[in-house]
Symmetry: C2
Subunit: 185 residues, 2 copies
């Protein structure tokens, strides 16, 4: 069985990027002297699954930021879209969330880092997210790409831990408990 795990930063009003993908508001508020736990988080994840937007953003960085194999979920991109230097590091799939996890399970993968708003939303809607580490940045953007989206029913979470940093980040770790039929509308 493959479990998926989210580790993501959002503005206080819930955006993971501006509408054009810009995350300077986030980078400007990142204090490199603080350990926000990414290294500990990624240590036991074998693959990273992301959407096209996150992939294309990563391509703009000076260096490829991931040291795990990456699976990009996209109907538009395929291996032909891949810069040569990323051969062997990135694969593409246009399959649905459950099928993607079945494919990874066949490769003996157990724990996946899930990244990107659209991908996180689609896995959440299918009940395929195990837990979420959400780091809230003390800024209101007013618009952008939202972390969360529409649902067919409420999703209950259990808070596992929460901590704050001198920089003003608040990081909370939630287990996705289940859908909650008793409070569904």
């Amino acid at each position: 069985m493959v479990t998926t795990h989210v580790f993501i930063a959002v503005s206080l009003d819930g955006y993971i990027a501006r509408q054009d993908g810009d995350i300077d508001w986030l980078l400007q508020r990142d204090d490199p002297t603080e350990d926000h736990g990414y290294a500990a988080f990624i240590a036991d994840k074998e693959w990273i699954v992301m959407g096209r937007g996150t992939f294309e953003k990563a391509l703009t960085f000076d260096a490829w930021p991931y040291d795990r194999p990456v699976l990009v979920l996209s109907r538009q991109l395929n291996a032909g879209s891949l810069p040569e230097k990323l051969n062997g590091k990135v694969q593409f799939s246009c399959r649905a969330p459950g099928e993607v996890l079945a494919d990874l399970a066949e490769q003996n993968v157990h724990r996946v880092y899930l990244d990107g708003g659209q991908v996180i939303q689609s896995f959440l809607r299918e009940g395929l997210v195990a837990d979420i580490v959400i780091t809230t940045v003390p800024v209101l953007l007013g618009a952008g790409k939202p972390l969360f989206g529409s649902l067919t029913q409420d999703i209950d979470l259990t808070l596992l831990s929460s901590r704050s940093f001198p920089s003003g980040l608040v990081q909370s770790h939630y287990r996705v408990t289940s859908s909650a039929p008793d409070v569904a509308h």
Copy 2:
């Protein structure tokens, strides 16, 4: 000078109520044995300023929930809309945020509790919110009335404190620092 202060609960995806105003999802997760600080918050507030939606929701409660004078900002409602039992407890105004605060200052008011999504958003847009206590409830609703809205520029916040409760609520207290021209888009 009048300062305004926000104390509000939101779902993890940023909603203060379902689209129809329902807050059962919040009440169901309220642990009455936990002190979330409302009494300490309200102790030094002299007036409550809210919008029509919050007012009409409060009217549905068994008892009128506020022990402070309430000013309802509405273009539709006026004193004629007021149930007799609330005479002397509720006033109405259709004035803009800055004018409302000037009106209250003339009555020697200093600290105001600001409630309701639309009202909070309009005061935030005009730079008229001093601080925000935001309590995040561990549930995703997928839709509803959002706490925050569009802005003309970023708003910077300073985290003053953050704490979590056994029920899973995470409460963070932010001072509204200022607009941040250096990160405006």
